[in-house]
């Protein structure tokens, strides 16, 4: 009896779909890398021990943030997007205006960032940060 010789076969793992998966993952990482660009608002803090600068009252404009995150501009309640035009008008009249930012201890941080953002957009260069109650 003759036994048929079994043909040796080379077992292979098909890698055809590997490149497809690699490309899909590549597109995913490319898109997420493009989205993860970090941004920020730069602050130059005064150095500890620096004497506080004396500023005449006529150059000071007070922006207050209460515990709920509402804004008051020189005592008048205002919306967040109302800060920039009001401050820009003031800066046109008095370019050396210093913004005095009074922030309540329980005010949410996003309200503080919104205020700083608006102040920066209006073109103010000097901000004085002060605790605004609740501490």
């Amino acid at each position: 009896m003759r036994i048929a010789r079994r043909r040796s076969s080379n077992p292979e793992i098909s890698l055809v779909s590997t490149s497809d998966v690699a490309f899909l993952l590549l597109i995913f990482f490319l898109s997420t890398a493009a989205l993860s660009v970090e941004r920020g608002l730069l602050l130059e803090l005064p150095r500890a021990g620096d004497a506080p600068a004396a500023v005449p009252a006529s150059r000071i404009l007070t922006l207050e943030i209460d515990a709920e995150g509402s804004f008051s501009f020189d005592g008048r309640l205002t919306a967040a997007d109302g800060i920039r035009p009001a401050l820009a008008a003031r800066l046109r009249a008095v370019p050396t205006t210093v913004v005095r930012l009074l922030v309540h201890a329980r005010a949410p941080y996003h309200a503080f960032v919104t205020a700083l953002d608006q102040v920066k957009l209006a073109g103010a260069r000097q901000v004085s940060l002060e605790p605004g109650g609740g501490a």
């Binding site: 590997t18 490149s19 690699a22 490309f23 993952l25 590549l26 990482f29 490319l30 997420t32 890398a33 993860s36 660009v37 970090e38 941004r39 920020g40 608002l41 730069l42 602050l43 130059e44 803090l45 005064p46 150095r47 500890a48 943030i65 922030v103 309540h104 201890a105 329980r106 005010a107 949410p108 941080y109 996003h110 309200a111 503080f112 960032v113 919104t114 700083l116 953002d117 920066k120 957009l121 940060l129 605790p131 609740g134 501490a135």
Partner: protein, 119 residues
């Protein structure tokens, strides 16, 4: 072609792992005037929604931030501290961190934000 794709894939996977550095879950506030952060000499300070503080990914008490900063700051004049604070964090916690930075004589601080549309 597939080899190049794999190489690029490894590159993006490794860089994305490096970027996932936040040890505290932080939802950043939005800002329009935020500038793109440069890849310069930076230290990361994170503040979570419940006031938990992390210094370069390691949880630390708020009172230790100043000493850690002062130690890291030595011999690095161009050092910038980036503050990743959660949008809902009470301001008092952030003010405490800023006070520590001021005491550590770290004058340049960047408040990390997300991009908000419109100007």
């Amino acid at each position: 072609m597939a080899d190049i794709a794999m190489l690029l894939l490894i590159f993006f996977m490794s860089t994305s792992i490096i970027q996932s550095h936040q040890s505290t879950a932080v939802r950043l506030p939005g800002a329009t005037a935020g500038e793109r952060l440069q890849a310069e000499d930076r230290i990361r300070v994170s503040v979570g929604p419940n006031g938990e503080v992390a210094f370069n990914d390691a949880r630390v008490p708020l009172g230790d931030v100043g000493a850690l900063l002062a130690a890291k700051r030595a011999g690095r004049p161009g050092l910038v501290v980036t503050l990743y604070a959660d949008a809902g964090t009470p301001y008092a916690v952030v003010a405490g961190v800023l006070d520590q930075m001021k005491a550590a004589r770290a004058p340049r601080v960047t408040l990390a934000t997300t991009k908000r549309g419109g100007a």
